[in-house]
Amino acid sequence: MVKPSSLQKTLSKGAKLTSAMAVESGEEDDLSINEQAISASEDEEGSDDERKHKKLLEAISSMGGRKRKKQNERSEASVQVSEFFVNAEGTGEKINLSDLLGTVEKTSGASNKTKKQLRNLQNSKGTLALPLNKQETEKIQRGIAYEKTTKEVSCWQNIIVQNRKAEQIVFPLNQESSGPKRVEQVVAGWKAQTPLEQEIFRLLRINSQPVNDPVLTAVEEASLKAMSLEEAKIRRSELQKTRALQSYYEAKAKREKNIKSKKYRRIQKKAKHKEFLKQFEEMVKTNPEGALEELKKMELSRMQERMSLKHQNSGKWAKSKAIMAKYDDSARKAMQEQLQMNKDLTQKIVVLSDDEHESNEEGLETVPDFVNNPEPVIDPVNPWMRGQLTHEEPEVSCVTTEEPQTAEQENEEEELIGEFERKRNLRQADEEDLIPTEEQKPESEVVEDDVVEVSDKEEEEEDEEEEDVSEFNTLFRLMRSEKTLEGPNQKSQGLNTPEREGEEGLLNEGPIRVRNIEDLEVLPEDVDPQPIAAPSLPQTAVGEATSEPPNKKRREIDLKEVLTKDARVVKVPFLPKVVEEEDHDEQISIIKEAFAGDDVISDFIKDKRKQEAAGKPKVVDLTLPGWGEWGGVGLKPSRWKRKRFRIKMAPSPPRQDRKLPDTIISENRSTSIASHQVSQLPFPFQNTAQFESCIRTPIGQTWNTQGVVKKMTKPKVITNLGAIIEPMVKEDFIKNKTTTSAGKGPAIMLGENKRANKGRKWSSAKHRGRRGSQKRKKQQTSVTA
């Protein structure tokens, strides 16, 4: 055991010694010197140990990146001399710039400039920036690494996208072509053995020649795949030609476009106009339909002009002309012309009345329905067999159903009627414009009064018709202006109609559109050359009798029309035998049972009303009687309150059967199918229509041919049974590129690759360097600041 005191002693001694050495070594502060000093101090402890330690230190120092060169040369004797080598004076000392500069100052060879620079350098007091801290450097390194890896990884991007988009992928990916193979390719295991063989193969390989005899060289194969020379040449020449032509044309167009001469423009315009007129006249003779289209176009342009109000005299030109008009005759003329044009354009086009439509309607009104029934049924029991309706019932039902309806509905109806009247006025005005001589017949007015009652659906139809008529009239007017010769004669209506009909034939206008049931019913009648004889007088009487007060809807009447529609009688070659007695009786009894004094139609109407009422959103009444006012028996809450606290719900969407008087379509949504339906739009689709159109084609065998089914249902991924599917390698898809750019020897490719790699590395290094310097600069500025 060593006593603590003695140990302390030795320690303190050592310390002293070192301090002494430090003093001795003077201004030396370098690390190496320190080390040496330490070693020296340790010398005294034990020489053997010291040597080992020295060696170790040397080894460590040699491991470090920058070696401190030690001059272990013995040169001169000095104070500090170890036993083994002698150091020169100041060997470990740093050489300052000033030391060197001193000599530079003296040397005459150095230029003044460099001297100056050096001096500046010496005088500059700026401290060097600190090296970046760890986090910063790591951040930079990470950034660089990220860039590098993204670059590496991004070359996969294309192939991945391609594979994802591919309709079908077959694994393993790089399959050999499925064609027949040569035996030599299949049989493996042969190697060139003799030196001659090896030599030959080496040569072949160097020149990238085929090794098997029937095979083409890689180059030749590539050339086979490429275009033939001839074709390429032809294509190129074609391209050149088109390009040249295009450029000529462009140049020409440009030149012409840049012509500023007004005269030129005017002349051209006139020429064009003339040409057009000529063509048009010819067209009228040869191709009336085309002419009509042209006419339509003209009309359109006229409309546009009219809309744009170009010919008002508010333009620059017009104003200048107005000033000049006082002095210049021609200017005045031009102005007048323009004014005339403006007048022409702004004139309203007069619409002809649609007698045809009216007459149609009249026919509709006047033709009674059940009179057309070919044969009255002789069955006193059943009211329905008599073929006449009890008129009171439906009306009554109608009234009863009408009453509970709220006031707002009436308002709606009034609105509709008002609109309708407005339209009628418009049309009348038009009529008067066109044919002032034509007298307004009272009958037509009556008819129109009737028309007012027509339900909204008919109103719509009327709208359409009105549009049609107006369109037709504009065309007609235009045609008339063309044929000025016949103009004045056509004022009277009697002449108008045949002319118009002829025109219709000419234009192929007026497609027969079937809009509703009535039309449908009317159509065959019109077509029929011998309509079923219908006495007209009693008809009208009945029609008037059945006409209702204007506020009511005409749905009931529609329904009757539907049911009492006239039917053709079918001739039968044989007459059926007399039906057996009992059967007949049975039938009659059934009928009696079925119609025990009730009305089918009114029942149906009631049913429909009920359904409609059920479908309507109900008004929620939240009034509390007695709150804020007197309550009690016989007292009603005030009107204000009722108004305030009755909450109206949003109106339900229009019923599907609103235009079908004899049909009730259930508005209940069937929930059973909902579980099978798609309720969420898949990703790329933005609305349901897109999605629905995408899945509109079924893929089943029932609807498609076999080939299509196979194509539609082909699996996205196919794997060959037993084949090993290895992960994709870069070469798999990069190879393709190299083969397409074929012909180059692989060795060269490799070299190029290397070069490219090198280049990349270099550039990245450079990049890094730049970034580093930037950072450093920043640091510097911060420090100086």
Partner: protein, 589 residues
Amino acid sequence: MAAVTPEMLTSTHVEKMNKKKPPKRYWEETENTDQSQRRPEEEQDKSEQNQNKSTVKERSLKRKNGERLEKKDPFPGEAPIPHKQLQKFQRGEKCKVPAGACKRLKEVTASSEAMSEHAQKQAARYDLLLPEDAGLLEGDEDEDTNTISQDDIADAVDITSGSKYFNLHLSQFGPYRLDYSRTGRHLLVGGKKGHVACMDWQTKDLMCEMNVMETVNDVKWLHTEAMFAVAQKRWLYIYDSKGVELHCVKKFNDVLRMQFLPYHFLLATASATGFLQYLDVSVGKEVAAICTKTGRLDVMAQNPHNAVIHLGHPNGTISLWSPNQKEPLAKMLCHRGAVRSLTVDKTGTYMVTSGLDRKIKVYDIRAFKPLHSCFQPAGASCLSLSQRGLLSAATGDIVQVYQNVLGSSPVSKPYMAHRLRGQIWGLAYCPFEDVLGIGHGEGFTSMIVPGAGEPNFDALDANPYRSHKQRQEWEVKALLEKVQPELIGLDPGQLSKVDQASFEQRHKEQVEALGFDPLAKDKFKPRRKKKGRSSAGAIEKRKRKVAHEDQRDEIRQSVQEHTEREKELKEKSKEKKLGNKSTLDRFRK
């Protein structure tokens, strides 16, 4: 060196190489490997080219407008498909993808569009494989076809066809109902007084015959000819083709009429108590029982297009039913008297009804609109539509067959007529045959009606000539493809539509959760432009350009449709004009 590797393994090359002349290319190639891509092309002589790439050569030859034009396809490309044929197979409308849509959407729609177009084209092309035409009956001059008797027809046609006109005299067991199997091979007849028999009617091979000792209201084949259902006095029974009773379904009582929905495997029954019931015959379960509350149901038909059941009622209405809804899908007032009979055509477009008011009415059942009606002096007790749209109507003991009933113009006289010995009780056309089966008081009559049956059958669906094995195969496949009863509705294409209600609901929730509408169109933001073109006025102008784009689109579309319709009409009228003129017209005075 990747290209060379397979060749390295070869062995026999040396000898072969010696035998053949040394190829020129070796020398060429040694000069420069890098440039070799183009050079051989220049140097290859034409003979070599001819060998190697005849296709390329041909193309180049065409360009050269040349002296050496050899074989040229006079009809290059695929054979064109007539527009009408294409239209026949059109499914739905193309959807236009808006210009600003995302790329993925464009791709998806483009590919699906291409696929459906391809399918349509292929289907149109394969239409060529339906070569058979329907027959028809033509009388001499001034001879109405309806005066030609069945015996005359049977004498005139070949023996096999002639044998299709026959009578079964079964006067004992009263008026007969009948049903043909879906393939048209087998016939099932059921007499009111209990006589039930099934047979292969072409060979007249009796499969079974029995008397159930009860009133028989209706008989119906199930999915194959191995089983049939008989509606007896109280319960519904199911027998197999040998007459063995398989089931007595006591849940179905007082059944008057039956219909079998082949793709759903549903047997729909209408009872005297006013119940409409559905029996799933594949699992033997009752799918739905609906109380129609309309009294006795003895008029029933199915719409083959959407499997909706039509019922006729004594108050002149016709109601449409699906098993999924307790109330009728639709209800139409068709007759002033009770409805006596009704039938729906194969495409589900037309419905023909007859009532006690002695009218026959044709309806467009898709739009619920009457097309036309005709009056029959005695009314029609039974109606039936053939596959090709011939309507047969029974009045008393006479059957009349009408042509072109489903067209636009009403008929004036029947195409054929036939008088039978008893009151007619049942009418049915035989599928894929020109035969009308008539069940009447004195038995059964098979009548020849030229042009009634569909001449081309789909062997995968209903093959009249199928063997036993094929039938079994078909049965399995049909069961696998069975359509669930939930899918029955007025619109059979409902399944391919998005469930709008739940979609909207979900969308609303999403909007609430996200705080914005992900499907909303973002407002147009004019791009900033330089050189003073981004002044307020200019921006406003640019905005104006795209304002109301959707409305404009609609208008544009409607205008386009209008013009197209006009065009079509024009073409039609032209065709008519041309059609009236024949080449021999110029010889006319």
